[in-house]
């Protein structure tokens, strides 16, 4: 059994989780990664996706829309722009997020267009993972 590590998930509006876990799956902008105790100090940006913390109580998943994560040997902090426990994410929430992302895509130009399209794609992916329609 691997060592445990302190995991914090905060959004600007509230602190969602603060627990000791063994591993956390993080949707990084350049690809998913799983962080465990003793991780090299890293700062990475997030894409919309699921943050899953695995600990003694089993897996707890949260949906995040973006933000960044700070990993160090002693702690994992995820600072999400918006984060919700998976259970609180309903069709309504997903549709709202997707609508916002799509309208951002429509108005984006140049470089931003690609980024905006990626956000839409990532959100659709999240929706399908949760079994909701995109």
């Amino acid at each position: 059994m691997a060592d445990n590590v302190q995991f914090d998930l905060v959004s600007p509006e509230r602190k969602l989780a603060s627990a000791t876990v063994s591993a956390v799956q993080i949707p990084g902008a350049d690809g998913d990664l799983t962080a465990m105790a003793g991780h090299e100090p890293t700062i990475l940006t997030l894409r919309p996706g699921l943050v899953t913390a695995s600990g003694a109580q089993g897996d707890i998943a949260y949906v995040v829309t973006g933000g960044f994560a700070e990993l160090s040997a002693t702690g994992i902090s995820v600072l999400a722009e918006m984060a919700l426990p998976k259970e609180e994410v309903t069709q309504e929430v997903v549709s709202k997020l997707l609508d916002a992302a799509k309208s951002a895509e429509a108005s984006a130009t140049g470089e931003n267009e690609v980024a905006a399209a990626k956000v839409v794609a990532d959100l659709s992916q999240v929706a399908s993972e949760l079994g909701l329609s995109a």
């Binding site: 914090d8 905060v10 959004s11 600007p12 509006e13 509230r14 602190k15 990084g28 902008a29 350049d30 090299e40 100090p41 890293t42 700062i43 990475l44 940006t45 933000g67 960044f68 700070e70 160090s72 902090s77 600072l79 722009e81 918006m82």
Partner: protein, 290 residues
């Protein structure tokens, strides 16, 4: 001598005023608690955010690749003041003190020959600033429909400011709000958000991090968020300050109404006594005349 009936109505009306101010005070107290909780809840995020951003910007600062949001445009000719006030009045000197600070800054900048542009958040600030500087106000953000300020409101405001920055409409942006100290004291504060300045804490900046994607990409991603975060915490501080100011203002008003009721009641009793004495004199002198 005012007549008895007038006094009686006066007392009744002051009593109902007292009831209203008392109710407002209690509502403000409840809202203050909620506002403080919200501010408390946002603290972990803001603290970590500033620590990370501080470390990042410390290492990026000075290099040629530093993003514009951090390095600035190299000028300070056009100043954008974002004045954040409340949507409602009846909260003591809360709105006026923020506006006063902003006005002092406007005069100072004008004297230095800078161009001033104003974005107002909250109706009261627009009203007060509009009296003298209406032509400087380029945008107004209305939050009267927003019951509890959320991060999305802050993001919207930040987005507006950032797009103006991208189109070179200003060089330096400063936000004005009141910091909540306690129920009686709120400190009007001016804080520069663009170019960003972060207190790099020495310990954090010493830690060596891997960055994914690159350091520059992360910084470019985080800096706009930093603006939103700063505006968000300013909005929260403001919300708490507003309720605190309203609470103490209404507490004063309630106490004043109580004093006034006491004074009026004494006057009422005196006049009533005078009327009775008068009537007695009339009866007695009438009886003597017989």
């Amino acid at each position: 001598m005012p007549n008895l009936k007038d006094l009686k109505t006066r007392i009744e009306s002051v009593k109902s005023t007292r009831k209203i101010t008392k109710a407002m005070q209690m509502v403000a107290a409840a809202k203050l608690r909620r506002a403080q909780d919200a501010a408390e809840a946002s603290r972990p995020y803001t603290e970590r955010f500033n620590a990370v951003l501080g470390a990042l910007s410390a290492s990026a600062d000075g290099s040629d690749a530093a993003p514009r949001l951090l390095a600035g445009t190299g000028k300070d000719d056009v100043q954008l003041l974002v004045v954040m006030t409340a949507e409602r009045g009846l909260c003591g000197g809360f709105n006026s003190s923020i506006v006063k600070l902003a006005k002092a800054r406007i005069e100072e900048l004008k004297a230095q020959g800078k161009t001033v542009k104003i974005v107002t958040v909250g109706k009261k600030g627009r009203e007060q600033l509009g009296r003298e500087n209406a032509e400087l106000i380029i945008e107004h953000v209305d939050l009267s429909d927003v019951k509890n300020v959320g991060y999305t409101s802050a993001q919207d405001i930040a987005k507006g400011i950032l797009s103006r920055f991208d189109s070179d409409e200003f060089d330096v942006a400063t936000i004005f709000y009141a910091k909540f100290q306690n129920v009686v004291t709120q400190i009007p504060t001016a804080q520069q958000v663009i170019p960003a300045s972060f207190e790099a804490d020495a310990e954090a900046s010493n830690a060596l991090y891997y960055y994914e994607p690159s350091e520059e990409a992360i910084l470019a991603d985080l800096l706009p968020r930093g603006v939103a975060t700063q505006i968000f915490s300013a909005l929260l501080e403001n919300a708490a300050s507003e309720q605190g100011a309203r609470m103490s203002a209404m507490d004063n008003a309630t106490r004043n109404a109580g004093d006034m009721i006491d004074k009026l009641t004494i006057e009422y009793n005196r006049s009533r006594q005078a009327v009775i004495t008068n009537e007695l004199i009339e009866i007695i002198s009438g009886a003597e005349a017989l």
